[in-house]
């Protein structure tokens, strides 16, 4: 996803990924609601949630749980959606400040240069 997704798109992607994991496990498709508890209502295990997070990292290009949000604070589907909204909004602000990927590449190159000199 090259452009910044809207809040509605984030919600849609998160719901889709959760549904996919549930379908894969039980073979059944079920509607997802924001208030659904990931574990208590939907029966997602921590490993299932890890799969969802790994998929979302690629799909949305963000990982809120690396630094921003503790995974233990996420209980419901809405909590998960909110974590990604937060990460993407802050990530976008940060990207605007440092010109995103180009700046990251420059940082990596500088880091390598420093390493080689050591």
């Amino acid at each position: 996803m090259l452009t910044r997704p809207t809040p509605r798109e984030i919600e849609s992607v998160v719901h889709r990924k959760i549904r996919a994991v549930l379908e894969e496990r039980s073979g059944e498709s079920r509607p997802i609601r924001g208030v659904d508890k990931l574990n208590a209502t939907l029966g997602l295990s921590s490993l299932d949630l890890a799969v969802v997070v790994a998929e979302l990292e690629i799909e949305l290009g963000a990982d809120p749980f690396a630094k921003l949000v503790p995974i233990t604070s996420v209980r419901s589907v809405d909590d998960l959606v909110e974590a990604y909204r937060k990460a993407l909004v802050l990530g976008a602000k940060s990207a605007e400040q440092d010109e995103g990927l180009d700046a990251a590449m420059r940082r990596a190159q500088r880091r390598r240069a420093r390493t080689v000199r050591k």
């Binding site: 996803m1 290009g61 990251a104 880091r111 390598r112 050591k118």
Partner: protein, 274 residues
């Protein structure tokens, strides 16, 4: 196995990166072969593992602090980077480690095998060791392995399977004066092996350790002759391990032949610890 100094690591380019929001692209034709990531593959056991995976027609990525002659030769032999990728970086640079995993995934499309081989040892008893050396050893031997495993496990979760092999040591399972910090980090890796095997097993990701004893290496070259004789006397198989003895155990664990083995530590020491 003890090494003086580090076997090391690096990121070359941030081609396609999850944090950037860009979707990874795969090198043409790479999707059908196994992809192995070996940390610290510039010399010793790491280099042996890199060669072994290449011989098995895997795509191989490795990282080290320095570009050794082995790395230069392997890069020359690589078919335009289609089967081998190397980068130089420091183990304490966690972002760079994560970037490297993303880069390998972008380049080769997947990661089937991770071997956490990178390691260092500073010999000396704990009371007189410099704090910096303690921290560096934990950083390289343990934290870096955790950071790389964290990133690789996500790739493996997405692709629905994989295999992690941690290079431990017999010093993780029995005491040895002068290597307390090294032993602690290697025992921690064995703990990681068992718990991660339980965490990731349901997703078809296997995690095992190989714990080498003494093997022919630069370290053994400097060993006093009488000490070496003592080791040989106590080893039922009557010799030091060859580097390929250890590499073969790793290759076995990484292969489909070990498809029902997880959470285990295989000791490769000629029987010295039995």
């Amino acid at each position: 196995m003890l090494m003086r100094g580090r076997t090391g690591i690096g990121a070359s380019q941030l081609a396609s990166h999850p944090r950037s929001g860009r979707i990874a692209t795969t090198t043409a034709g790479a999707a059908s072969r196994k992809v192995a990531l070996v940390t610290g593959g510039s010399r010793g056991l790491g280099a042996e593992l890199v060669s072994g995976f290449l011989e098995r027609r895997c795509a191989v990525a490795t990282l080290s602090r320095t570009k050794t002659e082995f790395i230069k030769q392997t890069l020359r032999r690589s078919r335009r980077g289609n089967d081998f990728h190397w980068a130089a970086l420091d183990a304490s640079d966690h972002d760079a480690l994560q970037d490297f995993v993303a880069e390998v995934t972008a380049r080769f499309g997947r990661i089937d095998v991770l071997v956490n081989n990178m390691g260092m040892a500073v010999e000396g008893i704990l009371p007189t060791m410099r704090t910096r050396d303690i921290v560096d050893t934990v950083e390289v031997n343990l934290i870096a392995a955790l950071v790389v495993s964290h990133a690789c496990s996500r790739v493996m979760l997405r692709q629905g399977g994989g295999c992690i092999v941690n290079i431990s040591s017999i010093n993780a399972i029995r005491g040895q004066a002068g290597v307390a910090v090294y032993s602690a980090t290697k025992a921690a890796l064995d703990g990681l092996t068992r718990s991660l095997a339980r965490e990731l097993g349901p997703r078809n990701i296997r995690v095992n350790s190989v714990a080498p004893g003494y093997f022919e290496s630069d370290m053994v070259k400097h060993m006093a002759a009488d000490w070496k004789r003592r080791i040989l006397r106590r080893t039922p198989l009557g010799r030091l391990a060859r580097i390929e003895d250890v590499a073969n155990a790793v290759q076995f664990l990484a292969s489909d032949q070990a498809s029902f083995i997880t959470g285990q530590t295989i000791v490769v020491d000629g029987g010295i610890s039995c």
